[in-house]
Point group: C2
Amino acid sequence: MHASKYHINTLKEAPAEAEVKSHQLMTRAGMIRKAAGGIYTYMPLGLKVIRKIEGIVREEMNRAGAIELLMPVVQPAELWVESGRWEQYGAELMRIKDRHQRDFVLQPTSEEVITDIARNEIHSWRQLPLNFYHIQTKFRDERRPRFGLMRGREFTMKDAYSFDRDEASAQASYDAMFEAYMRIFTRLGLEFRAVAADTGSIGGTRSHEFQVVADTGEDLIVYNPNSQYAANIELAVAPCLLAQRGPATETLSKTATPDAPKCEIVAQQLGKPLTDTVKSIVLATETDGKPAQTRIWLLLLRGDHDLNEIKTGKLAGFENGYRFATEDEILDTFGCVPGYLGPIKPLKPVTVIADPTVANMSDFICGANDEGFHYTGVNWGRDLPEPQVADLRNVVAGDPDPQGGQLAIQRGIEVGHVFFLGDKYSKAMGATFLENDGKPAMLQMGCYGIGISRIAAAAIEQNHDDRGIVWPRAIAPFEVVICPMGLHKSETVRNAAETLYQELCAQGVDVILDDRDIRPGIMFADWELVGVPVRVTIGDRGLKENLIEIQTRRQETAAKIPVTEALAHTLEQLKSL
Amino acid sequence: MHASKYHINTLKEAPAEAEVKSHQLMTRAGMIRKAAGGIYTYMPLGLKVIRKIEGIVREEMNRAGAIELLMPVVQPAELWVESGRWEQYGAELMRIKDRHQRDFVLQPTSEEVITDIARNEIHSWRQLPLNFYHIQTKFRDERRPRFGLMRGREFTMKDAYSFDRDEASAQASYDAMFEAYMRIFTRLGLEFRAVAADTGSIGGTRSHEFQVVADTGEDLIVYNPNSQYAANIELAVAPCLLAQRGPATETLSKTATPDAPKCEIVAQQLGKPLTDTVKSIVLATETDGKPAQTRIWLLLLRGDHDLNEIKTGKLAGFENGYRFATEDEILDTFGCVPGYLGPIKPLKPVTVIADPTVANMSDFICGANDEGFHYTGVNWGRDLPEPQVADLRNVVAGDPDPQGGQLAIQRGIEVGHVFFLGDKYSKAMGATFLENDGKPAMLQMGCYGIGISRIAAAAIEQNHDDRGIVWPRAIAPFEVVICPMGLHKSETVRNAAETLYQELCAQGVDVILDDRDIRPGIMFADWELVGVPVRVTIGDRGLKENLIEIQTRRQETAAKIPVTEALAHTLEQLKSL
């Protein structure tokens, strides 16, 4: 490609609304242009990146035996009613009516359509296993779309759906996808982690996320640097930090702690470590009956720990969801304002659930259910009944890994997700097949997503510097840029540039020759912003000594290379990336 | 690909609603599955065809210098309001509201978004010419979607948009696209015609359609078998069939023609040829003023000719559209019921427009504006004033081509369209650039569409037989199928089949080996239905004599070829297709 025949249009400034680096840099590099909030045109350079990502994903999906098809963007509501998602999905589901007032959705994923296809196409166990995938435009009507391609409304996603005879076979399909994802993200050239994850609203029982490691990520990954262990913080089991409960050595005493509604202040006032305090969190759930009954719960964490809301949502009795109790409910139950609450003798009976670490604490400090007072020297069994125990907290860096070593935490961007669905959709939609005993059985399903357009943004969040994007070679819009200095004035430069260009093309390198009549400084800045991995600079001065300059995007200075070695050296640099 | 790892699911019967061959055969071959009316899943075999079509289109667009990007499916209404199409487009435009009640459309084409991009990206004449294209999902909310991929609601289209400094340069861009389209449809292996076409609702001044020749086509193509001339019947100029007006030899006389409201019956009653009769068509238009005034027109065609409604719509005074006059309007203007109307002394003055052939007729027959009576021996000038003259009729086969020879007519399916738009959109949306004199000028635009998914259907309408589809090689889902007989029982057969399979793969041939454990008859029927161009049959009986069988899809019998020549012969057969 010659730049003069292409469309390169970089911007000095990113739009004010671009909050994250990838949004800023993709806009400045001319890779995306906004059409509406969360809806972008992929400009030529941006589309090249997307297509390279798609290409790698497609190759590895095919290698893993998945079969590509293409399900429609616009899908009939009937199928979504069958699965139950027409009701369950909130405002993010884009619902539309056609001219005959029939309901449709713009698909955010395609479980319904693929299950409908499966129930019509799969008759016999002989056809199984099957794994269908497509790479298709998706739509989610985010309330506040931001962050460019990181969280768009219209985006490109690869979603695959596996169908198996039984759970063991479905697990094998899941494992094959897991392996394919490992290959995909490795080939994309990204630092990533496969982490155990919560199954969330898609449902099912097993799930892994693929997270691109980046300081700007929204997700927190718990991992052990010395083992394979990695899990989303939502799911990561927090270890009990006290191997066993110590003996009671203090007496229970009620102490004045004026203006100390937080554990940090209480610890300070009492001259005790924060790890001696216990935090009280009051939640409310509603029971099923009519009228619904409200039930109040007291959850206890150590003062330095935070509540994990996903784990909380999985507690027995929390099936219908939960909320923080209102101040009125708290007053009514504890006879005290928040900030001084505790498990000892509340006004009304309340179920107490303690985190495992709290359950092993002794001589601890907690609120006295009396404004301005805390208890010290509190001991389970002696001063209050033994609590229910459940993992309630987020892991923190330094927590011991029960398998050995310490846990660490890093931020990540979710770019892939694999789910074991079981018969969630096949049951709802009656997708059966005939087993070899002639009897119908439910198809066991898995689903597997990769956010194609999101990967482009995540790659940038992970790989950029002050000058612009630093693409991994596999997904760079071009692998090499040739920057001739004064090509419009010097035939020698033009010939040398064209020769190297042709040689690189012949080697299958994706190269662009910048034949625009612009100043070198502007040219260099453009390509550093765009993030092309290797730059070759050719100028009259160097050519007089038979030299050209080669510099990778991460290098600070260029290497001077004899013209005769230009091709070999460029290929070598590429290989090293 | 091995068939056992793929998804092949043919059907004995097409759904009752499938009216056209392509819909029937794509469904039976398992290439498409209906998700809703006019909305289909491309199943694996169908998607392969679509991708091959896309690949050829993409290569030739790139070769012609067009630059690929990707505009969104969901587009903001604001841009459509600016262009005026939000008002003009009817119910086929799928309009949607997001959760904030903002208006959007599902794009049927992307003139607005690309013009918005152009006005932001193109600043200077130095950036021109530019041609952007994308291959994207389109939506048109057809009132009665039918015919499978031939007229779907959701479909795949390539649309390109060129931007130029002036009309001459824009014409060059148009010509380059025309040439690219010629290459594309040639490479697709389809019999097609590039025909001059009406510009319709997209507007602009020059336009060609690319029509795939097929008896089942909805369009009529007028062409000269001995020249390059071809035009859509909507546009094709109908020649005057009488070089000059003959002398008046008969006297005007009013003749009883009871129960003869049609020219055919009048001619029969009077024992005259149909070509002596003139047909009266009464139309109404509304003038601009308020209240609108209705104006009545009388159009005259020779009795054997048909009105061309597109040409009629272009008559001076018909700018706001037209309709057929009501019976009340006819009675009021002519004092007579339809069937006996004519241009001689209507009750009220009416503008008479005659087709050129009618204008040169003499001694002709027309209605007498008196129920049950016609005039014979009618002559212009003598019996009634000279008419306005305009081309009003459809060409009929056998009409002389003014350039020599005779015109013929064949049916076609429109699969591509190129338009010169001029400044229609750039003016409406203020898309200017700075000319080399520093002054702003309007971008001159062209737009160029190809119906990707429609091509698949059109290819089938043109290429099928009783057994199924006969794909052109370039877009066949597979180029070669190897059918081993009894592969599950014979290692010899299995080895021979696998060897040839590997050899063909190594040659870059897109081949499938049917390793399913099914009977030969079913296997053959499947592949004839799917339409794979070359079939290689390998069986124990043949192998004993070192022979295999090769048969192209159009051949009635197979050729027996020595095993050692299998690869060479298969490649040769492919090359011949």
